[in-house]
Amino acid sequence: MLSSRAVFISAAGLLASLGLYLLTTQASPPAPDPALPLAKTPYVLHHNLSAYTDFMMSGGPPPDGIPAINDPQFVDADGADLDDGDMIIGFVHGGEARAYPQNILVHNEIVNDAVGGLNVAVTYCPLTATAQGFKRGDTTLGVSGQLLNSNLVMFDRATESYFSQIAATGLTGDHAGASLDEVDLIWTTWGQWRAQYPNTQVLSEDTGHMRNYSNDPYGRYNPTGGYYSAREVIFPLMEESDRHHPKEMVVGARTAEESVHFVLDDLKNEHVLRAEGFVAVYDARFHTGVIYHSSDPPRITPTDDGRYEVDGEMYAPDDLPLRQLMSVDAFFFAWNAFYPNSATA
């Protein structure tokens, strides 16, 4: 019969083995050529890089503990199991339209995809409601398990540089201080996206990862509830403000020198909002905003068909004859934590 000593030693050995395994588990070694496309000039930061790295903290999972989707499969619009009110992340390039359902991205956060011949990483952080796309060249991005201001920190598998998603800027490694080359994603509902892109492809739940895609660990969007509407924020923030509800959706943008944000519902009501050096217009097709940089913007008049009149010409919201910036939808608390001095209407 087994002695109690043997049972105790076996249990201790099992725990020690697991601990040793975790200690020795590391991300794969860096490849020699990163080939990660970077922006010509980095975005403005409101803190020093060292302040960001000091504030960065583990969210629990190790690198790749939240597994990115590296071999995405797609179905056509009729094959998608989505309701019109379900949130998706849309991307169009080279004549191809793709929809990435929020209920999948909440579990995987990054899709390393190729759309219309362009290698992109489609990224989503459920805690900050931010969907941002980045050119990725020949490398892939992974989920680091670290958080900065409750927001996703990604890593480039080639160099193991860490990047903040919202700041779109390198925090550590070879690319520290450099900004990623962003592509424009749209955070909208399936019904709105499909109305504009009926031939869209939709990310399949056949992701190669075993998850329950019908269960959101944080809350729900159709209708909005749980974490997505509660005042509480789970992880610490570098800056806080009570100017708006923390989960109020804003649309923000940044340049090399400054940042701006507009409350999405205000933009919906006013159609055109201005802040110093910026102007935003509402895009009713997707319930989002488009931000332009202009020190002296012309008169912009909304029309009944959702377009805008500028100097007698009609333009779609995302096609005004101004310098368009990369617009990011986000919870207010998250934008404010990164850009506390952001200009606004």
């Binding site: 002695s3 725990l15 975790l22 629990g60 019908s214 269960n215 944080y218 974490y227 789970i234």
Partner: protein, 186 residues
């Protein structure tokens, strides 16, 4: 040590204690897997999917690991992560034995050289072990803001709970005298 083992075997020879331990252990394992989100609500139809088995060693967090299969049933989805089941099984076994022995100590104080309240206190590690896997759920439900210290603490809670359960189990068993137990089966 020998006394502890002898007491445990003596108790497990009694069918009602065996059933009690089995019931507590099974319930604890299910709760553990629910807290890890390996058992979640949502799902339609009946489907089974699997990926390659070596992925069971990929960690999803400290002491939690990847699922290699998914069973979808109407209204419920079960992710099968062998190492989570193994770790949950060890914790469940220890918690079940602790609670079973605590129950005996409470009902038969004459067989134990400590009082009833001590026996109940001894079951606290079993509750801590429960907290080890419930922490993220508690954070979300209560809307707590977590710190780095919380995350670090949470990451070692499972092994700490296992060690505490081992210690308390041995302490209670050492102070329980099998010859004084009334073992009439129910």
């Amino acid at each position: 040590m020998r006394n502890a083992w002898r007491t445990l075997i003596t108790l497990l020879r009694v069918a009602r204690y065996r059933r009690m331990a089995l019931g507590i252990g099974a319930a604890y394992l299910v709760l553990f897997l629910v807290a890890l989100r390996d058992i979640t609500l949502g799902g339609s139809g009946v489907q089974f999917a699997a990926v390659e088995w070596p992925r069971m060693f990929e960690p999803t967090s400290t002491f939690t690991f990847e699922a290699v299969a998914r069973l979808t049933l109407p209204g419920i989805t079960v992710l099968i992560a062998p190492l989570n089941i193994l770790i949950g099984g060890v914790l469940s076994l220890l918690a079940a034995l602790n609670l079973m022995v605590t129950y005996v100590a409470y009902n038969q104080p004459s067989a134990c050289s400590f009082n009833r309240s001590t026996g109940i206190l001894a079951s606290l590690p079993a509750l801590l072990a429960g907290g080890a896997c419930c922490a993220p759920a508690i954070v979300l439900i209560l809307g707590l803001q977590v710190s780095s210290l919380f995350i670090t603490t949470f990451q070692v809670l499972i092994p700490v709970a296992a060690v505490l359960l081992l210690i308390t189990l041995k302490l209670i068993l050492d102070r329980t005298h099998p010859e004084r137990l009334s073992l009439a089966d129910a």
